[in-house]
């Protein structure tokens, strides 16, 4: 515990130390990144200690705020969430040094907010008092807002930041109501005193789902995500998409513990929202041409998979089937870590592409594999992992969710289980389509424009985090049975039983061990085949030529399949949801001079739901516009009137 508190203090100190270094971006980077790494190492040490010893540690200090107390606790769940958060914070900070290298502008603010974000995320995860939690939550939101808007000279970035700020505060409003309700009922804001008053547990769950779901990015509350994540610098996108949105998942998990025994419909709602997020997220991702926007939509998809796992876990708990509960929660929690690893890596890879080719427009890239072999390799590993392909880590967690659903098929909530399996299969297929597109069009083939021609792998400080994360994809995949068998203390408070959890985990670890063996056979056979091929070809002629292309002798890079054409059959199939707009300039006449096709896919939920609602509010408040005349005197008068009215009301 003391190590975790020390980590938070180191973050805060490093942030403050970076603040005065306005003149020297280099020193600011150094101080900021060192602080982030040292803090993260301390915190990971603390979290590992708690996971190994299995004993929760607490600290409780007085705090002169109504209802507030500095009450923190690091139990197994908190420690489990701290690992990916701090790990990615450290790696992204190292990457950030190289990524921001050479910027003329002051980086003092950037590193200040980066460390504040790290500290606040850690504090959110260990806070056990409503006021402290909301404060940390709010600091986290504001710090990430300033990180998103570092390039605020672009209008797109300002809009993205604004969307994010509005969305996150709307979510926080629901959390406020939730904590006030809980606090009123139990007379204290400390989590250990919380008890849901009879009949309101359902309402509290819905409030938590909306409030935390907004941060996590559940459909239809996801609309800020595809705006904000692409606008931020890539290492910040990695932290936001990889771990910051997971604080939303953590919030839901924590509330499930606080609220106690759930009702079955909670699980149904979670599974349904998970399915919707998963399928819609990957569908919208397919239609994107901007690499980081595509990745942001994939976060919606993966949050969907995590939520499906949580939902199955809740169903299992509500129907007293520890096997379903343990496997569902284990899948969700493991996927939380896995997604942090491969999504962090994908965003870092996208950052390297942007750094080298100065664009993220997939249609303008191509052939980067030859120029950036290391970025290409790590991106490929992450792409295969996010598609849930064995033997990498993504498969391990999806396998757990599958196993939970398979156990639930024979139970009383078979519909949810079958829906989850069908959705996982469809998501798997569409994700494969999306990442063959993202990887294939960007890294393979020939460069489509000049922009990628001079690209090369990034500097050492950017390569090390990428390689580390890629190695983690492989290692977590190969050690998944061990990790899962060690997760029992984390699952116990969620499932409400230890014996059932242990039984379920032992069963599944056997299956997962077989999966690992299958992975080793795969690699062994592939190596054997490659050696066999090499032996066959050793004494024979091996030629090099142009791509055959059915005999066409003068291929150009523009003849290659583009990202839009690759995804077109699928996006057309789902046109009713995606509403892709096409701008076609058809070839005309006998000797057509030019033709073009542009497609654009806005978020159907932004356009169809949120924009009308916000425009409606906008019009309503425009009627009050006469109050805001722009004169300071008038405003002071308003304040005075308000005070007098309040005074009279109080005295009367």
């Amino acid at each position: 515990m003391s190590l975790i508190i020390a980590a938070i203090l180191v973050f805060a100190a490093a942030g403050l130390a970076a603040l005065p270094l306005r003149r020297s971006p280099k020193n600011a980077s150094l101080v900021g990144a060192c602080g982030a790494v040292i803090g993260a190492v301390l915190g990971i040490g603390g979290a590992c200690g708690i996971l190994f010893s299995g004993a929760a540690e607490q600290i409780r200090l007085n705090w002169a705020v109504p209802g507030g107390s500095f009450y923190c606790e690091a139990d197994a769940i908190s420690a489990f969430f701290l690992l990916p958060v701090l790990g990615l914070v450290a790696l992204a900070a190292v990457y950030g040094v190289g990524y921001l290298h050479g910027r003329e502008r002051s980086l003092a603010g950037h590193w200040f907010f980066y460390n504040v974000l790290a500290a606040s995320m850690a504090l959110v995860i260990i806070a056990r008092n409503g006021v402290l939690f909301i404060s940390a939550w709010e600091v986290m939101s504001v710090a990430s807002f300033f990180l998103v808007t570092i390039d605020d000279e672009h209008e797109r970035v300002r809009r993205a930041g604004w969307t994010y700020l509005v969305a996150t505060h709307l979510g926080t409003a629901f959390l406020f109501v939730m904590f006030v309700m809980l606090g009123n009922a139990s007379g204290s804001m400390d989590f250990d005193k919380f008890s849901a008053p009879a009949g309101t547990a359902g309402i509290l769950f819905v409030l938590a789902l909306i409030g935390f779901g907004t941060k996590a990015g559940l459909v239809p509350l996801h609309v800020w995500l595809p705006e904000a994540h692409p606008a931020a610098p890539s290492h910040v996108s990695a932290v936001m998409s990889g771990v910051m949105i997971k604080t939303g998942i953590y919030g839901i998990v924590r509330m499930l513990v606080v609220l106690g025994a759930p009702a079955p419909w909670w699980g149904g709602v979670l599974v349904a929202m998970g399915i919707a997020s998963g399928i819609l997220g990957v569908m919208f991702a397919l239609a994107q041409h901007d690499l980081k926007r595509l990745l942001a939509y994939h976060s919606v998809e993966n949050i969907g998979i995590i939520t499906m796992g949580l939902g199955l876990g809740v169903l299992g708990r509500a129907t007293n089937s520890p096997a379903i509960a343990a496997l569902g929660f284990a899948g969700a929690l493991l996927h939380t870590i896995n997604h942090a690893v491969f999504k962090g890596l994908l965003f870092l890879g996208a950052g390297s592409v942007q750094h080298a080719a100065h664009t993220l427009d997939i249609e303008r890239l191509g052939g980067l594999m030859k120029r950036m072999p290391l970025t290409g390799l790590t991106f490929l590993i992450a792409a295969a992992a996010i598609c849930g392909l064995p033997p990498l880590n993504g498969f391990a967690s999806e396998f757990l969710v599958y196993m939970s659903s398979l156990s639930a098929v024979s139970g009383s909530h078979a519909g949810a289980a079958v829906g989850a399996i069908a959705a996982l299969a469809l998501i798997g297929g569409l994700a494969a389509a999306c990442f063959t597109k993202a990887f294939g069009i960007v890294f393979l083939g020939e460069p489509r424009t000049e922009s990628g021609a001079g690209a090369h792998d990034p500097s050492l400080s950017m390569r090390v985090p990428m390689v580390t994360l890629a190695a983690l994809c492989v290692v977590i995949g190969a050690t998944a049975p061990l990790i899962v068998s060690a997760m029992a203390p984390v699952l116990e408070p969620l499932c409400g039983t230890r014996a059932g959890v242990d039984a379920a985990l032992i069963q599944t670890t056997i299956s997962m061990a077989w999966v690992v063996i299958g992975g080793f056979i795969l690699v062994a056979v592939a190596i054997a085949l490659a050696l066999y091929r090499r032996r066959l070809l050793r004494s024979r002629e091996v030629g090099e030529t142009g791509t055959w292309d059915c005999g066409y002798a003068r291929p150009t890079a523009r003849m290659q399949y583009s990202a839009s054409s690759f995804a077109q059959p699928i996006t057309d199939f789902f046109q009713s949801v995606l509403r892709t707009r096409k701008h076609i300039n058809r070839p005309k006449g006998l000797f057509p001079a030019g033709a073009s096709l542009k497609t654009h896919t806005d978020d159907t939920f932004t356009e169809g739901i949120w924009r009308p609602i916000f425009c409606g509010f906008g019009r309503m408040f425009a009627r009050l516009h006469w109050l805001q005349a722009g004169s300071v005197h008038l405003y002071i008068l308003y304040i005075a009137i308000t005070l007098i009215v309040l005074l009279i009301w109080k005295l009367a």
Partner: protein, 304 residues
């Protein structure tokens, strides 16, 4: 020990006989068309010839292109380790093994697709795009069919499920099993690039899916792709064959029956290919969704 040996022998037979399925399909088509047709062992001759050739690689390609055939065959190999011989067990079986099987086939597809994109060819991009589209729609059907089976067979491991599919189960849940047979047949045809989804014989690249993705491969690489395709056909066909098998409980007879049904199914595929035209590409998703609907219906019947 004898069981392990028997399992091993069966797996060796799987590896040896998989290309013969293609030979039987081709011979069936030839007979239906009134031709004499190629020798039934032609797929083996083709593989031997390709293994004896050199290779030509495009200058555009990278190591991804060379990884494609090797990785694809390795992934299909692992999937085929899980495929049971009807009621006789597979070399590898564990709870949830069919998920690994489906995802290994997914990995094989992923590697084939990126190898195709590595050539920078418009044709291969087109094939890759269609492949990922159709397989994304076929994947849920496969898994829903298998969980319906799991429910009927009372297990979540393929070998145990198929061992439990006795005539009694057919008597009790005949309609559901029939629906699963139909859905799995469509999946087999779609996943193995057969008519009516894809045409393995056409020379018009524009109409092809799988064949067009591997245009640039040659020599030993192409042999691995061809063998991988045969092994994948065997693996998925085995799921279908196991459904319509009698169970005698005597290993030799059961194994013989399994092989008989496998090759009978190959003849059925040949007949389908002889009597049908390839569907227009826009119709394929409708067929795949139709199969998905059958699978959902099957699971509703199974859950009843």
């Amino acid at each position: 020990m004898p069981t392990i040996l028997a399992t091993l022998i069966r797996f060796m037979l799987t590896l040896a006989l998989a290309p013969l399925l293609l030979g039987v399909i081709n011979r069936t088509k030839a007979v239906m068309a009134g031709r004499k047709g190629q020798p039934i062992l032609q797929p083996y001759y083709d593989l031997a010839k390709l293994l004896g050739k050199g290779a030509v690689y495009s200058r555009t390609t990278t190591w991804v292109f060379r990884l494609g055939p090797v990785g694809t065959l390795a992934a299909v190999f692992v999937a085929s380790l899980i495929a049971p011989w009807g009621g006789l067990g597979a070399p590898v079986s564990f709870a949830g093994d069919f998920i690994l099987m489906a995802y290994m086939l997914g990995l094989a597809r992923f590697l084939t697709v990126i190898a195709a994109l590595d050539t920078g060819s418009a044709f291969e991009g087109m094939g890759a795009s269609r492949e990922v589209y159709f397989s994304a729609l076929a994947e849920p059907t496969l898994l829903i069919s298998l969980i319906a089976l799991a429910r009927l067979g009372g297990s979540i491991s393929l070998s145990t499920i198929y061992a439990g599919l006795t005539p009694n189960v057919w008597a009790a849940a005949g309609p559901a099993l029939l629906l699963i047979v139909a859905a799995l047949l469509v999946v087999v045809l779609a996943e193995n690039a057969r008519i009516p989804v894809d045409d393995p014989t056409t020379h018009l690249e524009l109409t092809m899916i799988h064949e067009v993705m591997v245009l640039d491969h040659g020599g030993p690489d192409f042999a691995m792709i061809g063998y991988g395709a045969a092994l994948k056909l065997w693996t998925l066909l085995a799921l279908l064959a196991g459904l319509i098998l009698p169970h005698t409980g005597r290993t030799l007879i059961d194994a013989g029956a399994f092989l008989g049904v496998m090759f009978a199914l190959a003849i059925v595929i040949g007949l389908i290919e002889s009597t049908m035209a390839r569907l227009r590409l826009v119709r394929v998703p409708q067929m795949l969704l139709g199969a998905g609907a059958l699978a959902v219906l099957a699971i509703l019947l199974a859950l009843r």
